[in-house]
């Protein structure tokens, strides 16, 4: 078959990683970051601690620039501050990569899964992490943005010349220019669009569909990064219900876009429709 040499990144799915993001406008205080850091040590959060055996505290360097008597700018009193808290589950496959991570910075919270199984299992787990950390954040500021981003990778394990793009990506796709199907070399197609939505909560939905034909050590791969960013019309002081409403719908949006990009044969390989 034409796609016998096309291997989804994770065997029966192509997801290299998925990112769940929440953002807010007003920066967290250092004391709030310490509270979030402390969640890891709390006896009631044993499962959280087991999930993330490592915690990192990246620093932020604040450079103060003053003027001396001659009007020259001089650096002084640099302040080394806590920039965020990263809860990490190291990957057993790759040194320096995480299989799961929860990164809280001064203006965002990102949950990253690199070893994706199924949506219902992944979302259940990520939701629990977000529900754990968000109350601290929401005490003093509302959230403004939710986001979901998938990175899918398909590897072509044969001579690049034998890869027929139209066997993998659909010629009828709404998100690809025509010339990619004639190309035997590398290309990228990055497309973004904004839409105003009212349901389930009024928001602007910004979506990017970035498709890259890559080559690494002579091996071709197709990388698809689909990002969905929800900017709320009105910032929210509670997130439980919005998360439950928005994230599953963004996931379905993602499936629809991926389905629109891929040929039926490739969709079947990753059981896109179950």
């Amino acid at each position: 078959m034409a796609i016998d040499n096309l291997f989804p990144y994770a065997g029966n799915n192509a997801i290299q990683n998925v990112v769940f993001a929440i953002e807010w406008a007003e920066q967290l205080e250092t004391s709030e970051l310490h509270i979030i850091r402390g969640l890891h040590e709390s006896p009631v959060n044993r499962e959280f601690r087991k999930t993330f055996p490592q915690v990192q505290e990246p620093r932020m360097l604040m450079i103060k620039i003053n003027q001396d008597s001659a009007g020259q700018s001089v650096r002084s009193n640099n302040v080394d501050e806590l920039g965020g808290v990263n809860f990490v589950r190291p990957s057993v496959n790759t040194v320096g990569a995480a299989s799961k991570a929860l990164n809280v910075s001064r203006q965002s919270c990102m949950a990253v899964i690199s070893e994706y199984t199924r949506w219902d299992l992944v979302w259940l787990e990520v939701r629990n992490w977000l529900i754990l950390v968000m109350p601290t954040i929401l005490k003093k500021r509302p959230v403004t943005t939710f986001g979901l981003q998938y990175t899918d990778v398909f590897q072509w394990k044969a001579d690049p010349a034998s890869l027929v793009v139209s066997e993998v990506l659909s010629k009828n796709s709404d998100y690809l220019p025509k010339n990619v199907f004639d190309s035997k070399s590398l290309w990228h197609s990055h497309h973004g669009f904004l839409k105003k939505e009212q349901a389930p909560i009024p928001h602007d939905l910004l979506e990017n569909v970035n498709v890259n034909m890559l080559e690494n050590n002579g091996q071709r791969s197709i990388q698809i990064v689909t990002s969905h960013r929800v900017t709320l019309a009105t910032p929210l002081w509670k997130v439980d219900e919005p998360l439950d409403q928005l994230m599953p719908s963004l996931h379905l949006r993602n499936k629809a876009i991926i389905g629109n990009l891929l040929t039926p044969a490739v969709q079947a390989t990753i059981k896109l429709n179950g």
């Binding site: 087991k50 057993v92 299989s99 070893e115």
Partner: protein, 183 residues
Amino acid sequence: MPANPCRDFFALNATNRDFVKGLQKTPNPVAWETLSASDHSPGPVQPGELLYRQVMHPIHVDVETRSLKPTAFDDAANKGLSVERLSHVALADIQQAGRDRAAAQRKLGVSHADRKLHAVAELSADEIRAILDENQQRGFAIFDTANCENRAHADICQVVSTRKSGRSVRSQLIEAVRSLIEE
């Protein structure tokens, strides 16, 4: 003293690192579970007992799922899968004994550098004895192979001998792990 073929077998095979093959050739090894395998033993392994297996090498653990790999219990098919009987020793003592054993082995050299108690796996005697192969034959028998230093010691032994049955019951034994208590 009445005849005890179970005790006689284990005495005869005390240094045999592949005794399970011989056990599989006996007419009815499962019937021996009611007999004591050792004079040091407090008695045969009873229904309801919990058994603990020390996991001494990270190779046997799937770190992603925090579960044991099928090969973790391969000893059951050759030299017997050593376990400790909670009815006769405290969990803390089982864990400490594992740490001490690993420390002693690490002194043997570089090749043993990774010996360390990583976890203890909890198993139920009842659930192990409920494991059947495709022909509804018992997969394992559990014997009270205590010794003079450890009266809580027991062995889980695979009693089916065909390769297909062996693979079947091995996979079920891993599924029978009730919990993995990590260090």
